[in-house]
Symmetry: C2
Subunit: 432 residues, 2 copies
C-alpha cells in the first residue's frame, strides 16, 4: 500500500475521508452506501477482487473457476467517483493519530470502517493447518482442489493397497454449511464426475468422512432439517460422524474420537477466527476474536471507527446475535454507511442496527438442499433450486451470472465439472 | 509417475504397448489415432489437462480463465478403453532397454511417441528469464497476468513520476503471432477495459512497445499482410519497433537497439526451444533443439521411437519444412498413429508424411486479424471473425466452446475482461 494522504488528497480540501478496509460483503456494502456522499472514500484490500465466498467450495471441488466467483473491485466501484481503490495490506491502525498503516505507507482517515473478515481457527492447534487447510481464499480453494484431484491421480498409479486406501479417504472436519457442502461435493466428484476416467481404481469407492464434534450436522437449523440433511448426505455416500471430536490432523492420518484413520486429504471447516482487527485496535474481543461493538457498530471508545462483518460481535436491537453470514455483513456495511452519512450531513443518527433474517440455506448436493425461511423449513429439490438462484443472482456482474448459471445447469445435466485443473507454481507442485 | 510395467500390464499379455509422452496437440492426436487399435496406450503428462495453447495469451491478458482453455486429459480419453493416463514427469529414456524413466519409476514400451513440445529460448541469455517471462504454460499466463495488472495497481499509488512512467511501460519482445497478440491485448486492456477505473492514472496513457529484431512483424505472412498488421497495431496504440534487437532484459529496464527504456513488465515471445527429447534420446538436433526425424517421424536409429510436434524437425515429402503450429502437430500425431497401427497389424506403412496447410491466421485485436488461406491473404473483421471461430471450434468439450464463445461476444460488446484476478500463493505475491 503506497497510498498516502497526499496522493489521495481530494481537490476539495476539508471533505471528510472514509477509509474502508476489506472488499468483502461488508466493505463493498459500506462503500456503495457512501455513493454520492460528500466524502472521499478509500477502499483498501489485499486482493484486487471481491470474492463471493459462499461458492468457494465449488472452486475447491472443480465445478467453477476462480474468476467466476470473483469480480475486480475497481470494476465494481468504477462509476462511484468519490471512491478510490488501493491494493495493499494493512499492518496496523493508530487510532490516536487516526492513521491506517501499511507495509511502506500510512493513510489518514476521518472515519474508518474495518471489514477484514475472518480466517480459520484451529482451537489452539495451529500445527494442524498444513495437514488440514481451510477454505477462505481463492488460494485455499485451488490448493484443496489440487489435493483432492491429486489424491485420485496418485491412487491410480499406486500399487500399495493400504496407501491407495488412504489416498482415497477424504475427511472434512466440521459439519456447518461449508463442511456439508464440501463433503457433498467431494462425494459427487468421486461418484459421478470421475466415473469411468480411471483404469486401476474406482473413484466411487472413495471414502468421504464428515466429522463433527457437536451432536448434529448444520446445527443452526432445526433438528428436523438437520436430520434430513444427514440422510441426504448418507444417501450420496458421505459417512457422517457426529459427536466425534478430532484429536489430531497429520499429513498421513486423522484421529477422530480416538480412532486413527489413514488419509491424505483433510479439509478444515470447523471454526473461524476473526481477523487481527481487535489487536490492531487494542479493543475488547470475544473468544472468537470478534470486536465487541456498540449498537451502531462503532468502537465503544472510538466513535469514528466502525467494525462490521465477521470481525464484529453484536447483539442487535431485537436481542439477536448477528450471525456470520454474507447477508448480515451486507446489512451491517449498508448500515454504517448510513451512520457515517448522517454524521457528515449533521443529521440524526439512524436507529440501532437490527438484523433482518431473509432465510438461511445450505446445499448438500445435486438437487439436495435445506432452507429455513421465516420459520418455515423445507428441503429437497425446491430448496436446492432456490439455493442456486439465491447464490447466482448476487454474483456481481451480468456476465458471471449467465456463465455460472450455464455451468450450474450443465453440471446438473451431465455431472461434468468444468475446472478440473491441478495448477500450482512448479515448486509448489511437490505436494501432489 | 509411479506407473510401471506391472500395474499397467494388460491381461492380454503380448499386446504391444504404446507410450505417448505429452498431452499437447500432437500427443492427443496420436492417442486418439490409436483408438480401437490392438494395443495398450499409456499417455504420460506433467499436467492433468490438455492445454489449448493458442489462446494462452487471453489468459495472460485476463480475458479468459485457465479452465476455459484446458480440459482434463482423463475426460478427453474417458471412452478410449485401451488408453491409461498417468500424471508424472519424464526424466529420461533408455532406448536400449526400451524404458521411459520418471522420478521414481520406469515404464517399458514397445512403441514410443515423444510429443513434449517446446519452451522459450533466450538465445544464450537465460539470465533474462526472470525479467522477461515467456508464455507456454498456465502458470506462465497467470504470472504475466499478475505482472500486467499489478503494474497498473502500483502505478495508481505511485507518487514518483519517473517510476510511474516505468510501471506503465509494457514491452513485448518478438513480433510473431504470440507477440503481436500479447501487444494488441495489452493495448486493449489499457485503452478500454481499465478505462475509468483508476483515479490517479490514466491507463490509456500506457506505453506498449513491440520489439522485433527482424525487418517486419508476422514474418511468416506475405509482406502486404504484415504491413497491414503493423498499421492495425499502431492504430490501437502499440509502438512497433522492427529491425531492433534487444540487448538486455532486467527487472527495471530493457535495452532495445542500444537505447535503455525503464519498464517493469517484459513479455518474451521471441524464440522457442524444443524440449529435452533430443538429449534424452542422444539424437541429432537442429539449432532449435528439434530432433531430426525420418520421413515417417521415427528416429533414424530407432524405428520404434517417434518424435512429433514442436520437438521434431521434418521436411515433408513435398519439400516443405513442417511449421511449429497446432494443426501441424495434430497431423503429425495422427500420422504416427497410422504408422504404428500398420506395423502392429502387419500392413504396409502409409506414404511419407505430407503437411496439409489449411491456412494460418494471427489476431491483432478486437475486430482486427490477418489470414492467409491457400495463398489468398486478407485482413480485417472477416479475418478476425474466422480466427475466432477457428480457435473456439476445436476447444475440447461442448461446454467450453459455448462459454468461450459467450465470453468472446460479451468482451466484444462491452470491452470487459472476465478474469482480472491477481492470484498467487502468498510467498509469490511479493513481485506484485
Amino acid at each position: 500500500m503506497t497510498v498516502d494522504t497526499k496522493t489521495s488528497a481530494n481537490p476539495n480540501a476539508g471533505r471528510p475521508r472514509v477509509v474502508v478496509i476489506g472488499a468483502g460483503f461488508a466493505g463493498i456494502a459500506a462503500v456503495k452506501g457512501l455513493r454520492g456522499a460528500d466524502a472521499d472514500v478509500i477502499l483498501i484490500d489485499r486482493h484486487n477482487y471481491h470474492l463471493f465466498q459462499p461458492l468457494l467450495y465449488q472452486v475447491a471441488t472443480a465445478a467453477l473457476s476462480p474468476a467466476q466467483i470473483a469480480q475486480p473491485t475497481r470494476a465494481i466501484v468504477r462509476r462511484q467517483k468519490n471512491c478510490t481503490v488501493a491494493l495493499g495490506e494493512v499492518t496496523g491502525i493508530d487510532t490516536a493519530r487516526k492513521i491506517v498503516r501499511g507495509h511502506t505507507d500510512e493513510i489518514a482517515y476521518d472515519y474508518l470502517v474495518v471489514a477484514t473478515g475472518a480466517t480459520h481457527a484451529y482451537f489452539g492447534h495451529d500445527e494442524w493447518a498444513d495437514a488440514a487447510p481451510g477454505l477462505k481464499t481463492i488460494d485455499d480453494a485451488t490448493h484443496i482442489r489440487r489435493r483432492v484431484l491429486g489424491a485420485f491421480e496418485q491412487a491410480e498409479t499406486c500399487e500399495d493397497e493400504t496407501l491407495r486406501r488412504a489416498l482415497m479417504t477424504f475427511v472434512v472436519v466440521g459439519a456447518g454449511p461449508t463442511g456439508v457442502e464440501m463433503a457433498g461435493a467431494i462425494a459427487e466428484l468421486a461418484r459421478h464426475t470421475l466415473k469411468g476416467e480411471f483404469r486401476n481404481i474406482d473413484p466411487a469407492a472413495a471414502r468421504i468422512i464428515l466429522a463433527e464434534a457437536g451432536p448434529r450436522v448444520l446445527a443452526a437449523f432445526p433438528e428436523k432439517l438437520s436430520n434430513r440433511a444427514r440422510r441426504d448426505l448418507e444417501k450420496i455416500g458421505v459417512e457422517v460422524m457426529t459427536g466425534k471430536a478430532v484429536g489430531n490432523c497429520a499429513a498421513d492420518h486423522v484421529v477422530i474420537d480416538g480412532e486413527t484413520i489413514p488419509c491424505r486429504t483433510i479439509v478444515w471447516a470447523a471454526g473461524v477466527q476473526a481477523s487481527a482487527a481487535a489487536r490492531w485496535l487494542g479493543a475488547e474481543a470475544d473468544r472468537a476474536g470478534r470486536v465487541k461493538v456498540a449498537a451502531d457498530y462503532s468502537l465503544p471508545a472510538q466513535a469514528d471507527v466502525f467494525i462490521v462483518g465477521d470481525t464484529a460481535a453484536l447483539t442487535d436491537s431485537a436481542g439477536r446475535a448477528v450471525p456470520g453470514l454474507a447477508p448480515a455483513a451486507q446489512q451491517a456495511g449498508k448500515y454504517v454507511a448510513r451512520v457515517i452519512r448522517a454524521r457528515i450531513e449533521g443529521k440524526d443518527a439512524p436507529p440501532p442496527f437490527k438484523y433482518r433474517d431473509d432465510g438461511t440455506m445450505a446445499t448438500i448436493g445435486r438437487g439436495k438442499a435445506i432452507a429455513l425461511i421465516r420459520g418455515f423449513g423445507f428441503g429437497g429439490f425446491i430448496a436446492w433450486w432456490m439455493w442456486g438462484v439465491i447464490h447466482i443472482m448476487p454474483l456481481v456482474g451480468f456476465r458471471n451470472r449467465v456463465v455460472v448459471a450455464l455451468d450450474w445447469m450443465w453440471s446438473y445435466l451431465t455431472h461434468a465439472r468444468g475446472a478440473r485443473l491441478i495448477t500450482a507454481p512448479k515448486d509448489k507442485r511437490a505436494d501432489l
